[in-house]
């Protein structure tokens, strides 16, 4: 293994390489199609949903964790009876020393290696090389990286960040003959010839393990290339490196893992070779090295133990928008993708975890495809909190903490933003702040912010306009499902000051449907920005403040789906430590809605056609990522627009994928955020729609800024803003932005 460079260097290198983003976007899109087809076919075959199948596998893994020592002992006893030597080691140092010593004792100088993430975790190659031994990677992707002096950027597709042109050039340099980039077959055959000699001359073979089957003392080892079969069969000594979390009780359990592993990893129903090894072959020795390296600590940590279910399929990376921009060298440490943001903290320490985890946009996509149902988004935020608490995270964290501490004070924020609103009046243009040209086109600031025009701070926040009696009586709808009902409007702190037209439109709409709308004055921020920044104490304080402000038992409706994700989903989790608080959080969660939820599944259900004003301008819809991933919402907005508003809706490709706002991510890592936004706006371009509708103000400000900065002519509207225009006798409300 080549030593990892600092996170900052890895991030900069990834951004500077034009191949990375293009290649990874194509890879992610291709994987999505194959994986969805494979999982769909599996659901049909089994007559059970993916949710049921993965819950079953997760339960198996959890049962093992609950009785870990027993299963480890059973495995060890059975493997030993079959002739293997099983050694448990606590640290990478012990593992490396043991393997080096055994290789020396065997008189070996060459080791042929099948793919093993544990060997990467412990840095085995570096240690072997330092001891004068020669490790040869035999998985094609791993071999390419070894020749290039790099580490894997993906758990399953280690060299996916490399374009074929780069691989061809590498082969030309190393093998000293021409390789046309389009002739991948020729490259593969060359690798076969080169590696076969190594297989036949090596006296030690090394492999990982996809599972340790306690019932048989057997190793499950899957591969497609056939290299693993050679590296475990031909040499006189076979060394297995595996994490102790790889245990499964029975062969039948292993089959359940097999069913989900290939489909999740590559979209294959099963890998070409699914091998079950029990003990060494006649004439061979087998050493099984079982590594702890933080796993026991993980198992003892109730918030983190579920990450030990991981079967290393890599699917969490394949749907991850930041991964698609920078790849695994930046988005991860040795372990890449979302799981790498979690387990790195245990295997390589908080400092190694700090940089990569700051790239997560909290979109929640990873958790939707994980075949063992690991709550990755929640765990990443736990790690983020620990990193922040650790205090070694640097200036950015200190500044964030100070800002969030100040942000907790509603009146302070109110006063400050009113002042900014007045001061920036000359720069305000239709909802955005237009900075002097030289600031946005030249210099270091331009690179970081030029891709997104910042929003304007309104001189008058929404709460002023909505004060009782100030808002003119809106036209009423013929059907009034909310007649006689009081609705507390939760404005969302961002829209209140940066996009007041959104909560104002929501208030008008709710009143048009018959509701009495109140705006509780003590409301401020739901706590999401703090939670998202790893500042859980500040987040809890804001949740408590919000619960107090909304204590009146009436329905709460917010035009911000992100606040619903926070109050309806995350707040109970954050307050789980105190039963009374948890109950209050759950009580609030039970009566808080976002606008679309209230109008479609809540009490405010509007009849078909009731907002149809005859306008047939095509629109397209971006789905706030957490609405899909956390709130489980599908095409509710599209269906509502079609049925209730009569609007032609053009489907947006990748509609539910993050837009790149990601809360603090777009401030801390603007280049990453710009990359994700670019992918999103590219999808919008493909629809040819002139109106883009969504329902989360964070997304809206981000998308508007991107549209403005790129000179596109797409109007980005909140659902409420769009609908309020269709009320009988309505006029455009854009002056309120």
């Amino acid at each position: 293994m080549t030593e990892l460079r600092s996170f900052g260097e890895r991030y900069a290198t990834a951004l500077a390489d034009p191949d990375v983003r293009g290649g990874l976007t194509a890879f992610q899109r291709g994987w999505r199609v194959s994986r969805d087809a494979a999982i769909g076919a599996l659901e049909e075959q089994e007559g059970r949903s993916f949710a049921e199948l993965r819950a079953e596998l997760a339960a198996i893994k959890d049962r093992v964790l609950a009785d870990w020592e027993h299963h480890l002992d059973t495995f060890t006893a059975n493997a030993t009876a079959a002739g293997a030597e099983v050694v448990r080691v606590a640290t990478p140092g012990e593992a490396n020393a043991l393997i080096t010593e055994r290789m020396r004792a065997a008189g070996a100088d060459l080791v042929v290696k099948g793919k093993s993430m544990v060997s990467e975790e412990i840095g085995l190659n570096t240690h072997l090389e330092a001891a004068g031994l020669i490790p040869v990677e035999t998985d094609l992707g791993e071999w390419i990286l070894q020749l290039a002096g790099e580490t894997p950027s993906h758990l399953v597709m280690p060299a996916i960040h490399k374009r074929k042109e780069v691989v061809a050039a590498l082969f030309e340099r190393v093998l000293e003959r021409p390789f046309p980039p389009d002739d991948i077959d020729r490259m593969v055959k060359a690798a076969r010839t080169e590696l076969r000699e190594r297989f036949l001359s090596s006296s030690v073979g090394l492999s990982g393990a996809n599972a340790l089957i306690a019932e048989g003392g057997a190793i499950l080892l899957v591969c497609n290339e056939g290299n693993n079969r050679m590296s475990v069969a031909l040499p006189q000594l076979h060394v297995v490196t595996a994490g102790i979390e790889k245990l499964l009780p029975t062969y039948a359990d292993a089959m359940r893992q097999v069913r989900l592993l290939g489909r999740s990893a590559t979209g294959q129903p099963i890998t070409v070779y699914t091998n079950f090894l029990t003990g060494p072959r006649p004439g061979q020795e087998q050493l099984i090295v079982l590594l702890d390296n933080g796993r026991t600590a993980m198992a003892a940590d109730p918030d983190m133990a579920a990450a030990l279910r991981c079967i290393r399929c890599g699917s969490c990376a394949n749907v991850c928008p930041p991964y698609g921009v920078v790849g695994g060298h930046a988005f991860g440490h040795v372990y890449t993708g979302a799981i790498g943001l979690v387990n790195t903290a245990f295997h390589h320490g908080l400092e190694a975890a700090a940089g990569p985890q700051s790239l997560c946009v909290s979109c929640g996509a990873c958790a939707t495809v994980c075949p063992v149902e690991i709550p990755l988004p929640v765990q990443i935020l736990e790690v983020r909190e620990r990193v922040a608490r650790d205090g070694r995270a640097g200036t950015a964290t200190t500044l964030t903490r100070a800002a969030l501490r100040a942000f907790q004070h509603r009146l302070l924020v109110d006063l400050g933003l009113r002042a900014v609103g007045v001061a920036t009046t000359p720069l305000r243009r239709d909802g955005v702040t237009v900075l002097p040209g030289r600031l946005t086109t030249r210099g270091p600031l331009a690179q970081r912010v030029g891709w997104r025009t910042p929003p304007a701070v309104a001189p008058r926040p929404a709460r002023d306009t909505l004060r009782a009696g100030r808002l003119e009586e809106p036209p009423r709808l013929a059907d009034q499902p909310l007649a006689g009902r009081t609705v507390q409007l939760f404005l969302q702190c961002v829209s209140d000051r940066l996009a007041p037209a959104i909560p104002i439109a929501a208030a008008k709409l709710l009143r048009a449907a018959g509701a009495r709308v109140t705006v509780p004055r003590e409301q401020h921020c739901c706590g999401l920005p703090a939670y998202d920044s790893g500042e859980q104490d500040a987040a809890r304080a804001m949740v408590r403040q919000t619960m107090a402000a909304l204590a009146d038992g009436a329905d709460v409706v917010t035009p911000a789906s992100s606040c619903l994700a926070m109050l309806g989903h995350d707040a109970p989790y954050l307050l789980r430590g105190d039963v009374a608080e948890l109950e209050r959080a759950q009580e609030l969660a039970g009566r808080v809605y976002d606008l679309i939820g209230y109008l479609t599944a809540g009490p405010g259900r509007l009849p078909a056609g009731s907002l149809d004003d005859g306008d047939r301008t095509p629109v397209t819809v971006h789905r706030f990522c957490q609405a899909s991933t956390t709130l489980g919402r599908g095409d509710a907005i599209e269906a509502f627009l079609r049925d209730v508003a009569g609007a032609p809706v053009v489907p947006l490709p990748e509609a539910g994928e993050c837009c790149g706002f990601g809360g603090s991510t777009s401030v801390r890592n603007p280049e990453l955020s710009a990359g994700i936004l670019d992918r999103k706006l590219g999808c919008v371009d493909r629809t040819d729609a002139s109106v883009l509708i969504t329902d989360n103000p964070g997304c809206i400000l981000h998308l508007r800024g991107g549209v403005h900065a790129s000179g596109r002519r797409v109007e980005v509207l909140h659902l409420a803003e769009y609908l309020v225009r269709r009320l009988p006798g309505a006029t455009s409300t854009s002056q309120e932005r």
């Binding site: 048989g216 290339e225 069969a233 031909l234 089959m255 097999v258 129903p269 070409v272 070779y273 079950f276």
Partner: protein, 199 residues
């Protein structure tokens, strides 16, 4: 998609076997039903004049080698201390599977000894022979076979198609370290049962 005319023969083939065929072909192997070992020999001889036979198969079906030789083939059964060298340049090899899984189109091959493993690893074309009576529905059925041998040293592989990689730009390339071609032959004839070697 046009509707396929219904074939009478289909009604005679058990659905399990139809599924196996579909899945085997989806994995990029070929599927054939053969009436007996003579047809296996004919299939092998049709592909090469040098054929390696897995020693475990040779032990229970020594007549296969004779049949191949009659057809003008040179037969290699690796028995020396360096079995990899014995089969290094043999283009076609044959092995018996202990069962085939219809669900996944896989053939379970048990090959504890190195001399058996080199046969399936090093050839270019691998022919896997399975008795029709040994076709099972699901992966769990293969788990039952494995569990019955739990704790005994062994090596068994569910093999599903020829070796492949997509490590360069996710571009599928067939034939890497393992065979480039795999033929699954289902024995449906009277002498269809394959004994398991006792060793």
């Amino acid at each position: 998609m046009t509707e396929q005319p219904r074939q009478d023969a289909d009604t005679l083939v058990p659905p399990q076997r139809q599924l196996l065929r579909t899945r085997v072909e989806a994995a990029a192997s070929t599927y054939h039903e053969v009436a007996g070992w003579e047809q296996v020999a004919a299939h092998l001889a049709g592909h090469a004049d040098r054929v390696a036979i897995a020693p475990s198969l040779h032990a229970v079906r020594p007549d296969l080698a004779a049949s191949l030789e009659q057809r003008g083939c040179t037969v290699v059964v690796p028995q020396t201390a360096d079995p990899a060298a014995d089969v290094a340049d043999v283009p076609v090899a044959v092995v018996a599977g202990v069962l085939a899984v219809a669900e996944s189109g896989s053939v379970l091959v048990s090959e504890h000894e190195l001399r058996d493993r080199v046969v399936t690893m090093l050839c270019k074309r691998l022919v896997q022979v399975v008795a029709a009576g040994d076709v099972v529905d699901r992966l769990e059925d293969a788990a039952v076979w494995l569990a019955a041998r739990a704790g005994r040293a062994g090596f068994a592989s569910l093999m599903t198609g020829p070796s492949r990689t997509a490590d360069i730009e996710r571009s599928l390339t067939i034939g890497v370290q393992g065979p480039d071609e795999v033929d699954v032959l289902l024995l449906v004839g009277a002498d269809a049962a394959i004994e398991e070697p006792t060793s």
